[in-house]
């Protein structure tokens, strides 16, 4: 009969939410420093601190990075820091989109790639690799630009087709997304059969990697992520109510059609931006929100911020393993996220069920 007390801790509490978010932010920061110092060339935390400080206005009047070796400076500033930032942003973005999609589709299997965004991006990237065109926009290379356009066109197509059909339910959209997604993949395979020499390049791209990270890419993704995250945070109450049923949400005064449209648009833009800088990284968007939900409950007021930072932390961990495991070569990060993510997810699932039974 002590169930009442242990349950009350899941009640939303603004102060605790702030505290946990702050804690995650500290962990994220420490991990970012650690990940930057780890690598084939080991780098002392002191030089990382100096390099970062020398880039911050005002602070750089007192601290300079002059005594840091040129090569070390280049590794920190041009290679590792952008990489760490890019993986954090990608992990965070995918996690909050996963959390949002699972809510609006009320389907635990929904992940950021479910609406065909990612396979649209992959098709775009494939076309770019085959065409040999050279352009660059917003700091993205030709592959990134094509991937971004492919992703956006894919969502518009899915949305358009779903709108024609009767019912226009979200389930419809899910099915059409899956169908078109499969079709895009088939087109990629078709293109590959005629271009054997590019198979490896395309395949590796679809597994995702941060090896080509740059500050331009970080800036690009940062803008989308900050805006997207901020907008999604404005809809936490609507997301909570929609989670209890779309009709219930309507009778509670939520214009569900409009809200879902906004959420899908924002989420799709977020996925498109992250996929175009890092390729298709699976699993993060699916499991991070579930893990967070299992521990702190379904309330979006905590789910979104916790998922964002947990996703970022998880992605940095995965990427660090991806580049350290078999030096000097790299494993695509998408492989790592699945290999360490899946068992951990299953562990949490069982652990929680066991705890529920014991109560």
């Amino acid at each position: 009969m002590k169930k009442g007390t242990s349950r009350a801790t899941r009640q939303y509490n603004k102060k605790r939410c702030m505290l946990v978010t702050g804690g995650l932010l500290v962990v994220l920061f420490l991990l970012m420093c650690l990940a930057t110092s780890l690598g084939v060339a080991s780098i002392s935390p002191a030089s990382i601190g100096k390099v970062i400080a020398s880039k911050i206005p005002i602070v750089n009047q007192w601290i300079s990075a002059d005594d840091v070796k040129k090569t070390t400076y280049a590794i920190i500033w041009n290679v590792r820091l952008p990489r760490v930032f890019l993986s954090a942003l990608t992990g965070g973005a995918l996690a909050i989109v996963g959390a949002t999609f699972q809510g609006i589709f009320r389907n635990p299997l929904a992940d950021p790639h479910i609406l065909g965004v990612s396979s649209g991006a992959a098709l775009g990237a494939t076309l770019a690799m085959l065409s040999g065109i050279q352009i660059s926009l917003f700091g993205l290379g030709v592959i990134g630009v094509f991937a971004f356009i492919g992703a956006i066109l894919a969502v518009i197509l899915v949305y358009g087709v779903a709108k024609i059909g009767v019912g226009r339910s979200v389930v419809n959209m899910l099915l059409i997304g899956t169908a078109l997604s499969t079709m895009f993949s088939a087109v990629i395979s078709l293109l590959m059969t005629f271009n054997h020499d590019k198979i490896e390049k395309v395949y590796m791209w679809t597994l995702g990697s941060f090896s080509s990270a740059s500050w331009d890419k970080v800036r690009f993704l940062l803008i989308f992520t900050l805006l997207g995250f901020a907008i999604l945070l404005c809809f936490t109450r609507e997301l909570n109510v929609i989670l209890t049923g779309e009709e219930t949400a309507k009778t509670l005064g939520i214009d569900t059609k409009k809200v879902i449209q906004i959420l899908i648009t924002i989420s799709s833009l977020l996925v498109a931006a992250s996929v175009s800088v890092s390729g298709i990284i699976g699993f993060v968007g699916l499991i991070i929100p579930h893990c967070v939900r299992l521990i702190s409950g379904p309330d979006y007021r905590t789910l979104l911020p916790y998922s964002f930072f947990t996703g970022a932390i998880f992605m940095i961990l995965s990427d660090t393993i991806a580049r350290m495991a078999v030096p000097p070569s790299e494993i695509p990060v998408g492989i790592i996220t699945a290999i360490i993510g899946a068992p951990y997810f299953i562990f949490i699932l069982f652990y929680r069920q066991k705890r529920m039974h014991m109560q």
Binding site: G4, C234, G245, T248
Partner: protein, 263 residues
């Protein structure tokens, strides 16, 4: 005078040729306790879903206080009419408090949390439905009766003049049926709420409702004060089985009993 006016409301689902609602016309006045009765497939649920704006009005008109309901914003409408569904498939682990707090949704702005006033209203709603002790439990782990009471608490928190319920007592045991009907009667009489409930239990309807809408084949067969509409003659015609009536000599309550073949 606050009213809901339904005029010539017709509806045919796109996937079917059968008219589910045939030119329904009726007027609901504030302050009453309405029971909507009728056999399965008579159009009760469709009528209710139109009333709740869950189905678009395609032919005919529904006016709430002389305003066309399709013109109202979603949140305006949610401050006038609230709904207790028959069954809820909430699988997310929200606490009872969270669920009842959602009743305050139509009054909240973006980013604005629950105010002191909201919290008082939520706790009062939990008290009124005898759910206060369930406050911190997960909604998913409640029994059918408890869940139904919590949903009624949510509509109390929503604080609307009109309350619509879809078979609220269908899956409850007799004690919880009576408890819930008592709560609704209290809301109707003391808080001035107009209750519109789809019911299947003729005797509870006879006891608690003061107005009955009797439906058959997509039409209103008869509507009016309970004493006039709930009669053996009407019930025979609508349900197509034999009934007889008994009257409790102490309370005057009427009981309708289906008269099956042999007896």
């Amino acid at each position: 005078m606050k009213t809901i006016n339904i005029a010539k409301l017709s509806w045919k689902p796109t996937t079917s040729d059968r008219m589910i609602l045939k030119e329904i016309t009726c007027k609901l006045s504030a302050g009453n306790f309405y029971g909507i009765l009728g056999p399965n497939g008579s159009g009760k649920t469709s009528l209710m879903r139109h009333l709740l704006r869950l189905l678009p009005v395609k032919a005919g008109k529904i006016q709430l206080d002389q305003k066309d309901i399709t013109r109202l914003k979603q949140e305006e409408f949610a401050r006038l009419v609230s709904f207790v569904p028959q069954k809820t498939a909430i699988d997310a682990e929200f606490t009872v408090y969270d669920i009842v707090a959602m009743g305050r949704t139509p009054y909240q702005k973006h980013f604005q949390g629950l105010g002191k006033e909201d919290e008082t209203i939520i706790l009062q709603a939990l008290e009124a439905t005898k759910c206060i002790h369930l406050k911190d439990q997960y909604f998913t782990q409640l029994s059918g009766g408890e869940a139904q009471r919590v949903l009624v608490a949510r509509t109390i928190a929503q604080d609307t003049p009109w309350l619509v319920l879809d078979e609220p007592i269908a899956s409850l045991d007799i004690k919880h049926q009576v408890d819930l009907m008592d709560t609704l009667r209290t809301l109707n009489r003391e808080k001035d709420k107009t209750v519109i409930a789809i019911l299947h239990d003729l005797n509870l309807a006879a006891k608690y409702c003061n107005e009955i809408i009797l439906m058959k084949d997509g039409e209103i067969y008869d509507a009016g004060p309970v004493e006039e509409v709930l009669t053996v003659k009407n019930l025979k015609a609508v349900y197509e089985i034999d009934f007889y009536m008994e009257r409790n000599s102490h309370t005057g309550d009427r009981y309708f009993i289906p008269n099956s073949g042999g007896v």
